[in-house]
């Protein structure tokens, strides 16, 4: 029941993931990190069984670090995608990792951010927007309507608001907290998006 979605803007990409850890009908915690910083300019959002996500995510992360140490420079986002796809495809014939992913990164040599949709069957696609899980599905139609090329930060913030509002309205067990991560020239950043707090603030403003 993870909520995962992401889209690209003008030289940046936004990755949003919920922060709840659910075991059957129990909410275990609400500060789970589902978007991993692969290196200083790459984000990997993952959805699926916890163990698979953590194991595969950290495996990729370690390999990014190893590559950087060995070669003195980082992999491009496209190369990282290719690596992830290769590892996933190799695992597919043995004991597959059931992780669906969104990979976002900023590349210096292109001076732009890119986003890749990756599923557990190791199919990948370069996209402008995408999502995984039920929550992510709801967002797809919103991206169809509201996403446009070269969006500004302010426009991106509005789109994140719209998406989360839709998820909150339509998904049975909609989480209340999200991590909004942005990757751009300066690196990655993370802000907490707390729906309850936001609503309270809105009410205060109205009063």
């Amino acid at each position: 029941m993870d909520v995962l979605f992401a889209f690209t803007g003008d030289k940046f990409a936004v990755v949003v993931s919920d922060t709840t850890s659910v075991q059957q009908i129990i909410v275990q915690k609400d500060d789970e990190e589902k978007t991993l910083d692969l290196d200083s300019h790459k984000l990997l959002a993952m959805s699926g069984p916890k163990g698979d996500c953590v194991h595969f995510g950290e495996y990729v992360q370690a390999n990014m670090k190893l590559y950087e140490l060995k070669n003195g420079h980082k992999l491009s986002t496209h190369a990282a995608m290719s690596f992830i796809r290769g590892e996933l495809a190799a695992a597919l014939r043995k004991g597959p990792y059931q992780v669906n992913m969104l990979l976002a990164g900023y590349d210096e040599h292109e001076d732009d951010a890119s986003l890749y949709f990756i599923d557990y069957l190791a199919s990948t696609q370069k996209v402008n927007s995408g999502g995984h899980g039920y929550g992510g599905m709801f967002c797809l139609s919103l991206f169809d309507k509201h996403w446009k090329p070269k969006m500004t930060r302010a426009e991106a913030d509005v789109l994140v608001d719209t998406c989360i509002a839709e998820v909150r309205e339509r998904l049975v067990t909609a989480p209340a907290k999200y991590h909004v991560k942005i990757v751009d020239k300066t690196g990655t950043s993370c802000t907490l998006y707390d729906c309850v707090e936001k609503a309270a603030e809105k009410a205060r403003m109205a009063a």
Binding site: S76, H78, A79, M81, S82, F83, G86, H109
Partner: protein, 247 residues
Amino acid sequence: MARRYDSHTTTFSPDGRLFQVEYAMEAISHAGAAVGIRTDFGVVLAAEKKILSKLLETSEASEKMFKLDANIAVAVAGINSDANILINSSRLFAQRYALNYSEQVPVEHLVQSMCDQKQGYTQFGGLRPFGVSFLFGGWDRNFGFQLYQSDPSGNYSGWKATAVGANSQAAHSILKTEYVEGISLSTAKQLSLKVLKQTMDSTILIPDKVELSELAWQDGVPGQVSYRLVRGVELRDLCIAVNRENM
């Protein structure tokens, strides 16, 4: 007793040297020279083809220059059959990298992989080192055009201009005085031939005895790199120009 340190690649002599490796380097210093020059617009490689007999069929294919991948080429100085083994595994490495990362292999990465293989033969017993030095000309996104040199010990280094093989000391000293920053590709081609000529026994440069190649921007426009052998009329004219210069 002297044989003790001579015949085993993996044994240090009392004064801390690996004789077999040094002998391999000595073998290279008798081989036809190879010269490389790096410019901001491309890399030039030149090498001497030793013609052993006039009865020998000259092949159209390159003898001392090999393309490893679209962005990397090498010139060989030393034992050609040894070089073939290393070239084969480097090509394999380049394609394996492309399969993993969907990108061309960075030049230094490939150089390092080949040198790791060379180093292995200086340490594990019963084998002799590769008797070959390479000049690598390459381009990658991170560092642009690059020139590397490797030797049998597995050491490698990056250069603006360098030479390996016979009389490489003399070649180095000419390069040191004549190389200028921002040198153009055509000047580099001439200079490489001029330097090569100095390392050779003959006083004039014959197109049949040299190989020249360049790895540069396709059509001179930054974007796509391409590797090509300079041959035919173009090579002949360059040789004539170099011969005239020294008269």
